[in-house]
Every structure is written in structure tokens, then in C-alpha cells.
């Protein structure tokens, strides 16, 4: 196997983009090649770890703040959900 093809296969293995039979062939080859095994394992772990990050939570507060920013900048937008009373801007008390 030439170096370029080898690297390409490991890239695909890392992203779980290979069909299972090719995966198995590569894993068999890695059983007798420590460097290949390390490359495959660490790359797959990296991609799996990355994919496990579900991202920042889109909170109700963020949802409402984004709408407020749109209104303030003159955007005419009508979402279906009404602003909860608890999140509406409070007017200062006078007197």
C-alpha cells in the first residue's frame, strides 16, 4: 500500500466513513503495525470526542435576546411564540 493511500484510508477510518469490511481489513493490518494502530486509534478518538460536543445550549433567554436585537435594529419579525412575561423588559418604577 503506498503512503498516500494508506493516509487516505486512515483519514476515512478516523471519521467512520469506511464500509465495515474495509474497516476490518485496516484493523487487521494495524494488529501488526503499532504506528498504524496508533494513528488510527488517536484519529478516531479525536473525531469521536469532537462529535460528542453538542454545543452551547440555546436558552429561552438567548432566544428572546436575539429577537430584541432584531426589533431594536428595525427588523419586523413575528415569531409564533409570545414573549414570556418574566422575560419582558421591566419599566423602571417612578416616584
Amino acid at each position: 500500500m503506498n503512503h498516500e493511500l494508506h493516509r487516505k484510508l486512515v483519514d476515512l477510518y478516523g471519521g467512520r466513513e469506511l464500509p465495515p469490511d474495509v474497516d476490518a481489513i485496516l484493523e487487521a493490518a494495524a494488529a501488526t503495525d503499532a504506528e498504524l494502530a496508533h494513528d488510527m486509534r488517536t484519529l478516531r478518538e479525536t473525531v469521536d470526542t469532537l462529535r460528542a460536543d453538542s454545543g452551547a445550549a440555546f436558552t429561552e433567554e438567548s432566544y428572546q435576546r436575539i429577537l430584541q436585537r432584531i426589533y431594536i435594529r428595525g427588523g419586523n419579525i413575528q415569531p409564533r411564540a409570545a414573549t414570556p412575561a418574566a422575560l419582558q423588559y421591566q419599566l423602571p418604577m417612578l416616584g
Binding site: T42, A56, F58
Partner: protein, 181 residues
């Protein structure tokens, strides 16, 4: 009988026509559909909530302002994400980011939360050319074709950056973990 996907696409086409006619409810519905994904995407690029909220608001304002140009040809989603990405790149270039602490993790064990912070830190240290494909393909589940359309590059170029990016991320993660252990 139309399947779910074609029903969705028909609904979206109807929505985009309403938007082009200046219907404010249409942009509201588009915000309901895509608001969360755009926010998460901009957060991943910018790294803090305040800037992500700002970029998300600006993305939907651009949609409103350019609604007359919209075509219901199935490319709306990539167009929307391209706007969001360009706004984020502008923000990064202007160096106007407010340094805010990363969001407090809302779930998961401490160990997993620490790993998540390390991954985000490593990702943010990669060149933009590598960050973009990783965020779009590995985190936001876009196909290679969709991600290439958003980034305005060919699919082979996208894949090449994606694979190089994963290797760079691995190296960065390795050194960050060594430093913290």
C-alpha cells in the same frame, strides 16, 4: 404520496415565497426553524454567547433585508449559513470580541465538561480554513456538498481541509492534554 423530506421542502418553498412578499410571520417561522442551529453555529465560531446572539440577530436581519432576492431553489439553508459565517469572520477580523468566560456546562460529569472545554479550546486555535469544515461536517452534520457550498469551495478541497483539520486537532488536543495533566 410525498415523503417527509419533500413535504418539508414544499413547506419551506411556501415560507420563502411568503418571506419574499414581505410577510413578517414568515421570517418569524424561519427564525423558529433555524434560530437554534444558527446560534449554535455562530457560538462555535465566536466562542461566547453575547457575540453569538448578536451574529444570529444580524443574520436574520440580513434575511429580512434581502428577502426580495430569495429563491426557493433548495439553497436557502446554505445561503443562510454562509451569511452567518461571513458575519462571524468579520467579527473575528475586527478583533471586537468581548472576552467572556466559556459557558458553564449544563450537563455531564466534570471530566466530560473539562474535555469539552479542552476540545473547544483546541478547535479555536486551528486556522479558520480547518475550523470551518470541522464545525460544519463533524459538529453541525452538514454533508460535504452542503459544507462546500457554504464555504464556496469544491468538495475535494473541503475534504482535504477536513482531514487535515482532524489531524491538526488531534495534535493540538494531545499537546493541550499533556500541558494540563
Amino acid at each position: 404520496m410525498p415523503n417527509d423530506e419533500s413535504r418539508e421542502s414544499l413547506a419551506e418553498k411556501k415560507l420563502l415565497r411568503a418571506l419574499a412578499d414581505g410577510n413578517p410571520e414568515a421570517v418569524g417561522q424561519i427564525y423558529e426553524i433555524y434560530g437554534e442551529r444558527i446560534f449554535r453555529f455562530t457560538f462555535r465560531l465566536l466562542g461566547n454567547r453575547s457575540d453569538a446572539e448578536d451574529a444570529t440577530a444580524e443574520t436574520f436581519l440580513r434575511v429580512l433585508r434581502r428577502s426580495a432576492e430569495l429563491r426557493a431553489d433548495g439553497a436557502f439553508k446554505t445561503w443562510l449559513f454562509r451569511i452567518a459565517r461571513n458575519l462571524c469572520i468579520d467579527k473575528i477580523r475586527q478583533h471586537k470580541l468581548i472576552e467572556l468566560p466559556p459557558d458553564t456546562p449544563v450537563n455531564g460529569s466534570e471530566e466530560r465538561s473539562a474535555l469539552r472545554v479542552t476540545v473547544r479550546q483546541a478547535l479555536s486555535q486551528l486556522p479558520q480554513d480547518y475550523q470551518d469544515p470541522l464545525i460544519l461536517c463533524d459538529l453541525e452534520d452538514f454533508s460535504a456538498q452542503e459544507a462546500a457550498d457554504i464555504l464556496d469551495i469544491s468538495v475535494p478541497a473541503l475534504k482535504s481541509r477536513l482531514y487535515r483539520g482532524r489531524r491538526s486537532l488531534r495534535d493540538k488536543l494531545g499537546s493541550l492534554m499533556e500541558r494540563t495533566s
